[in-house]
């Protein structure tokens, strides 16, 4: 019916928001890379014996890893610019993993005392 709609689509999507995804700019890619390197150095530095936060050590390391993982997923994997449905899909994995881990650890710690007092 409409004759101009196809004409508009005929241009290949070379601009930043084509119909087939966002083209991430070099500045964003390099900035994310720089932050990832920085966080890697921080996580190594936080693991030296001088910096001891006792039982918090593992949580600090996991927190830094999660920030790094989020940066990779949001920018390198385009989740920030894509259809949010992909992000929703992706988040189900750690969510169900957390359920598995949480229940298994609860179960294991529930009877661990019975084993180790013997």
């Amino acid at each position: 019916m409409s004759t101009d709609a196809p004409a508009l689509e005929a241009q290949p999507p070379v601009h930043e928001h084509g119909p087939m995804g966002h083209v991430v700019s070099p500045a964003v890619l390099l900035a994310v890379f720089a932050v990832l390197v920085l966080l890697t150095l921080i996580t190594v530095a936080a693991a030296t014996p001088r910096l001891d936060f006792g039982p918090w050590n593992v949580w600090i390391a996991l927190g830094i890893a999660t920030i790094k993982a989020s940066l990779v997923a949001l920018y390198f994997m385009h989740l920030r610019y894509d259809n949010p449905f992909y992000g929703l899909l992706f988040v189900t994995a750690p969510l169900f993993l957390a359920v598995l881990l949480g229940l298994v650890l609860l179960d294991v710690s529930g009877y661990q005392g019975d084993i180790q007092t013997g």
Binding site: P6, V44, Y75, F76, N83, F85
Partner: protein
């Protein structure tokens, strides 16, 4: 027969159909979204695959923290950190490659993919050096754990780092004598060795080994994409395979981002 197509064909001379548009899709955009959805679902199953191993890790570490604190000192933190940086860099070149494919920059795409492959090879090379060293020193899984030497000393004065516990109070489950030490070891060098230290290396080899297989699979896929990009298959209307392989490569990076602190940086 076929639904009314709304897609607009590219330049004349290519027939009535873009070269890489499968016949069951109406538009390149539809084909791209379908492929991408499939890739994301696959990545979710990959996380659940590794999730089982992370669960294994969590159970054993929560029950036997002393094994992990003792055994992780056998690992080389520096090599682990270098490998982390290598993988992050290869993730950058991969993400840049997707950008090049989207913009139709063929030469730069080939360069980015080659650099990503080089990163993967570097990672595997360092992993090989680490594995070989573990093999030579008898640092293997479960009952094959027969170390020739104790691990490098932890921190200067480890016991003092835990103010709550006296230095001599090791948790139950520790043997008093290090079984595998050479008899010539001086008493000052002796340190209680936890039982079942091989458990750590079972986990280490299983997790890094499965991850290494993923690196190999990712490099194979990147090699395929590299050949196709040399042939000039990719451009603004068709870059799906580069994008999907990129997502897979980033996932391999994500898993390592967690493996590195969990295995190398325990304290």
């Amino acid at each position: 027969m076929s639904p009314p197509s709304t897609s607009v064909e590219p330049a004349a001379g290519h027939g009535d159909h873009p070269r890489f548009l499968a016949h069951h899709f109406d538009t390149p955009g539809q084909q791209f979204s379908a492929g991408k959805l499939g890739m994301w679902i696959f990545l979710v199953t990959e996380i659940l695959l590794f999730g089982g191993l992370f669960c294994w890790y969590a159970v054993y570490r929560s029950n036997h923290p002393e094994i992990f604190e003792y055994a992780h000192r056998y690992l080389d933190k520096t090599l682990g950190a270098i490998n982390t940086l290598i993988l992050i860099t290869s993730s950058l070149t991969m993400a840049w490659g997707v950008r090049c494919a989207q913009l139709g920059q063929r030469r730069l795409l080939v360069l980015c993919l080659a650099l990503t492959l080089a990163g993967g090879s570097g990672f595997l090379g360092i992993k090989y050096v680490e594995y070989r060293q573990k093999w030579r020193e008898g640092l293997l899984w479960a009952s094959r754990f027969n170390p020739k030497e104790p691990p490098p000393a932890a921190a200067p004065a480890t016991p003092k780092a835990r103010p709550g516990k006296p230095a001599s109070a090791w948790p139950p489950g520790l043997t008093e004598k290090p079984q595998a030490l050479a008899p010539a070891a001086t008493p000052a060098q002796r340190e209680p060795v936890p039982q079942h230290v091989g458990l750590f290396f079972s986990i280490y080899f299983m997790m890094t080994g499965l991850h290494g297989l993923h690196v190999i699979a990712g490099m194979t896929a990147i090699g395929w994409i590299l050949v196709r990009s040399v042939k000039g298959h990719f451009g603004p209307q068709y870059f799906g395979p580069v994008d999907y392989v990129g997502l897979y490569w980033h996932l391999v990076d994500l898993v390592w981002i967690y493996l590195f602190p969990l295995l190398y940086l325990i304290h």
